[in-house]
Structures are given as C-alpha cells and as structure tokens.
Symmetry: C2
Subunit: 377 residues, 2 copies
C-alpha cells in the first residue's frame, strides 16, 4: 500500500508563546500513514500567499526578529507587543502549521485511493509547508500529465477567489467590478476572467508599470492611484463601466471610501432631484486583504446607500452550492496554463524561507514579487 | 370645497447660492388649491429632526453665519467652503423646502377628500416648515380626537425608523440589537418596542444620567461610553444578549469598529480552533446618522465576517411590502401617547427658528433637547 514512505518529514510551524514571542521553526514531524481513503503527498510546490503570512507572522514586526539556529534548522523569534499577544489569545502556545495549498506527488495511498499512487495532485488542505502531507484523497485535484507541480501549486486560493468575486457580483445584483492592488497574480487572473466573461472591470494600481502590465493583458480600465488625476480617472472609468462593487486588498486608509465617493459621483450626476441622503444606487466595497493594516477611514461623503465589509471566498462557494463550485474547480483545472497561470519570481526551500533577507522580502508582499516554496528541495 | 383658505402662507426655504452661501429665509408662497384628491393642512406642529437639519443646514458652519432681516422676516446667510459648495452641486440655486413630517388641521379639501375637512392629520410629505401644505389625501394619517397636533407631529420618522430597525433585524437573521445615542427620542421608542417584542437590546449612551433615564424605562442593558470599563461592559452585554446587529447614529470616529470588535470578542470566546480570519459570526453595524461628521475609523481587529453600511428607513418598508408597512403605521397610530410618544423641550415659531440662539441650540442636536416647530404660532 505504501511505497518508500519515510517515518518523519520536516515541517514549518509558527507558535505564539505565553512569553510573548512568535516563533517560526522547522520540526521533524512523523508522517501520518494514510487511512483507507487518504493519500500522502510529497509536497513539491506551495505558494506563499498573504493569507499564509497571516498564520505565519500575524501582526509580528520582523524588524525586531532574532534569526537563530543553523543553516539547515533555522529559527526565527519575534517579540510581540502585549496588545498583539492579547489579540492572538486563540493561538497561544498552539503550534500552527501553515501553507493553505500546494501540489506534489502521491507517494503513499490507502486501499480506497490506490489509483492516485504516483499521480501529481493539487490540494487545499492547510499545513502544506511540509515535506509530506497526509490528506483525504477526495480533496486532491489530479493534475493533467503536462502540468508541473509549480503550475498546479496555486490551483485553489487565487483562482477560486477571483472566480468567487465574479460570482458575488452576480449574486448581489451588480454588473461590473472594481479591484485594487490589481497587478497581483490574483488581479491578473481577474483581468483574464472578466475579459472571458465580458464583465466590465476597473483596475486600480499604484504604479504606471503595473498599469502597463495589465493593459498588455487586455485590461481596458486601469487607474493609477499615484497619478494626479486619480479620482477623476476613477469617476470616468466607473461611469463607463457602471461598476458598483469593489474588492479591496489594501484595507487600510482611504481607498475604500474613495471608491464609494467615486461611485456616488457617477450616480449623483444622473439624479434629477437633490436628496440629502444621496443617491439610492447600492455601492459596496468588500475588503479581502490587509496590505495596509492601518485603520480603514471612511469620509462618508457618499450618501446613505453603501456598504463596506469583510469578504472571504469559501462562504461564496457555499452560497452558490456544490455543483456550481465544482464547475468553478473544473474551469480552473482546464486553465492552469492560461487564465489561471501564476508567476513566481523565486523558488525557495523550507530552510531558505527562514533566512533574514528571504523572510523580509516575503513579508513585504510587494506586487510583482512572489515566492514559491519547494519543501522537497 | 375650500373653506377660509388664504392665498399665501409663510414657508421656510434653504438655498445654496452660486455665490457660495447657504441662505435660510421665510417667503410668502402661494397656497396651492387642493386637487380633487388633495387636502390643505394648516401646519400646527412639526419636529426638527437631524434629517431635517441635513436639508436646512447641510455642512454649513453656523459660527460664521450672518443673522439679518427683521424679527418677523429674519434671514440667515452662512458662507460655505468651496468643497462644501462642490458637494452640494445638486442643490445649487434650487430653493429647498424642509420639514419631513408634521401634523395640523385640514382647512381645505378636494371633492374626493371632503370627509377629511376639519380633521387633524399627520403627514410625511416634506415641506412642513410652512403655514400651509397641500398634500395627497391618501398620505394623511387621521389622528384620533384625543391626540393633539404636538402628539401627532412625529408619527412617522422616529416611530417607523425604530420599527424598521427591528424589521431589519428579523429580515437579516439577527436576534438582538445594539443602539448608539440611545437616549434620543428614537432610542427611547426603541427601548419600549424591544420590551414589547422581547428583543434583547444593548443601549450605548454617553452620560450616566442618560443611562438612568433608559433604565427608568425598563432598559436592561445600558453601556456608558464615557465610563472607564466601557469596552468590557459592552462585551458582557453582547455576550448576554447575543446581539450581532447595531444601529449607529454617531457615524464618525471609532464607535462602529468598537462594536464590531466587542461582537467578535464574544464570538471568539466560543471558538475551539484558531482562525486567522476570525469567527464566522456575521456582525453588522448600520450607520443611520452623523452626530459625529468626522470619518468613520475601522481598526479591523474583528476578523473578515463583518459589515458596515449606510441605512435608511424607507427601503426597509419597501422590502417588507405594503401590507406589513401598513401594520406598522397602524401600530404607531395606536401608540402615539405611549410607545411612540415624543418629548419636546421647546415650541417655537418659524421666525424664532431663524434667531441666532435658537438655531445654534437646534444645530447642537443635543440628546434631551428637542424642538417642535409650530408654523401657525
């Protein structure tokens, strides 16, 4: 049943200690033998997404980190503020494994899952920052032969998040989208999905070169937030697209409120009668990331018909139901080399991930810089 | 058909001029003769609600106001900032009448509305800051004989807003409410409604004497935001009530975010597994006022399952449908002296309203100070 399965494998864990530190370390963990309907994956590729960093680093400030241990077994210890420790009470002294998704080869399988042995699968199972991961066979997405582990590593989080944004738009009665930090891997997927589906999309980026990148993918509306006429550009793009739903990866500062104000400016221009409550046009911004962890500031110059809220992909898949969700997964699988392709700037090992410069670069979450972890390296 | 209907009557108008001033003045306007299905009301009582002030004063700063004209025909002119003029573009050089609701005697009626002649009616029709107002007969709520104009003046905005809050709670799957600025006339109604319906309600007030007032009405959960243990008190009250929907009249500052953080603290205490996304408990704050016009600041320490949004009563009445809305109106009519009673601290005339001290007092929107306008005075 099992092949050459080792007894132990390295895995990365993150622990918030009662002493007030966040500790990242590599531990030798026993490789769980597969149950009848389980498989063991030798993980070959797993992306480092902002949502993974939430588990790995939480609110810890790397500037104060101590990098210790050997080159093969590095350790990082980061002092936390008392407020941060309090906010993390739910994970105190509980070692957390990390890495939402990834791909690799099935090296052992239970009786009911024999057919997967030797196949390459992608999985959204958590704990992927490990050499081996035992998961339910049903959770594995078998990758076509010509798809590499790197190509299959990000088959869930970004693709399904981008698709779920479009589904949310349909569910909530909007007909166009706005997206911030739009040059990200996720943002590029969204551009391609919206082109495919004919959904009007307004992309907000920070730098001219990011605008160029998106235009080269076919994006029609790109507004650069660092440009002098940004707000006017945004109003113009919203007027042309009639987009009234935005997804914001930034979270902090005035971006969400600016988007609502621009949407309201479009709606107000069409009002024939003044109302102190503003237009009746529904306007929504969903915050799904925290590239800027500072407070969200809403100036509230956009009437009383508006909403801002948190947003996650999994509840959307529940809302649309299992069959529709399955169709989305099949669409991703078919498009891993095209619509849903991800780009990585560097492949690193588990030990490299805990080196100072690498971890600092990862924590910057810079658009255009994306790391792929290969725990088997 | 008409009785002793005068040709003209005084009315209050508010105009934003292209020259950059907001001007309040009393004008002699022709009294429109009633159409077949219309009545003319001699307005005897009309409340000054925060929503009326939005039309009257907008964002104008009274500190710079010039009070001119005679005692009988006062005028107020308030210079506006260029930003304010821009924000008010929709009402530039359009004189707006004000006063959402009020009550008075029917002094003239069209053929189809004869039966109303001489009756006292309440109406939500706008333009009530006037001696006479011609409205559709169908919009008039005939008041019982023992109900005075003062008692019937606020039969719509506050009562229906408080009832619509409870309806929203039911529509959106919550089972308890939080209310800020809870000692207002509206807040007192909400306390009585929630007691009647058995809806758990957490009241947030600023001052101990306001807490006392609400407790004297039977309120069980009152948290005082100026007290040192406010946040802990709030968490405790939310734990006891399981309230996950809040209505916030304040708008600016950190109140909305604090409420979400307290709701999340209650939900997090029951989680068995840590999640970087926080609890899956839906948490919503609706902002329906702007007692603090400064920006809303959300610290976002409450996971990703949350919403903040603007809120208005009329769309809720549309959502529940005409029959349910009619039942709410009937309930208000039956409770004008009890559940839906309003308190006023002063009755003023149209001319008094435009005097410096009166207008300043009105614009403070202080809880416990409430003005009733009697245009027939």
């Amino acid at each position: 049943m099992t092949s050459d399965l080792p007894a132990h494998g390295l895995k990365l864990i993150s622990t918030v200690t009662r002493a007030g530190e966040l500790v990242l370390q590599l531990v030798e963990a026993p490789v769980a033998a597969p149950g009848a309907d389980e498989v063991v994956i030798r993980v070959e590729a797993t992306p480092i997404n902002p949502s993974d960093l939430g588990v790995l680093l939480g609110p810890a400030d790397l500037a104060a980190a101590r990098f210790e241990g050997s080159a093969e077994r590095p350790t990082v210890a980061i002092p936390l503020s008392p407020a941060a420790v309090k906010a993390l009470a739910g994970r105190l002294d509980r070692p957390l494994s990390a890495g939402n998704e990834g791909a690799g080869q099935v090296v052992a399988a239970g009786d009911a899952a024999r057919s997967l042995l030797g196949k390459r699968v992608a999985v959204l199972a958590g704990g992927m920052y490990a050499q081996y991961r035992t998961v339910r066979a049903a959770d594995g997405l078998v990758l076509p032969k010509d798809v590499t582990a790197a190509e299959g590593a990000s088959a869930f989080v970004n693709p399904l998040t981008a698709l779920a944004m479009v589904e949310t738009m349909k569910l909530e009665g909007h007909t166009g989208l706005v997206h911030t930090a739009a040059a990200s891997n996720l943002g590029q997927m969204l551009v391609r999905i919206c082109l495919e589906e004919g959904v009007p999309l307004v992309n907000i980026v920070r730098k001219p070169e990011q605008a160029e990148l998106l235009r080269s993918l076919g994006a029609r509306h790109v507004c650069c937030s660092s440009a002098p006429g940004f707000f006017e550009d945004l109003v113009q793009a919203l007027g042309e697209t009639r987009a009234t739903l935005a997804f914001d990866a930034i979270g902090g500062g005035r971006t969400a409120g600016q988007i609502l104000a621009a949407m309201e400016a479009v709606a107000a221009a069409k009002m024939t009668e003044y109302s102190v409550y503003g237009s009746g046009q529904p306007k929504q911004v969903y915050i799904y990331g925290a590239l800027d962890p500072s407070p969200t500031e809403l100036v509230r110059n956009f009437g009383l018909t508006w909403g801002v809220g948190g947003w996650l992909m999994p509840p959307v898949l529940l809302r649309i139901g299992p069959q529709a969700a399955e169709r989305l997964r099949a669409r991703v699988l078919a498009g891993l080399k095209t619509v849903f392709a991800s780009r990585y700037t560097r492949e690193i090992s588990l030990a490299e991930m805990l080196q100072r410069e690498t971890l600092l670069a990862i924590s910057r979450k810079a658009t255009g810089e994306k790391f792929l972890l290969n725990p088997s390296k």
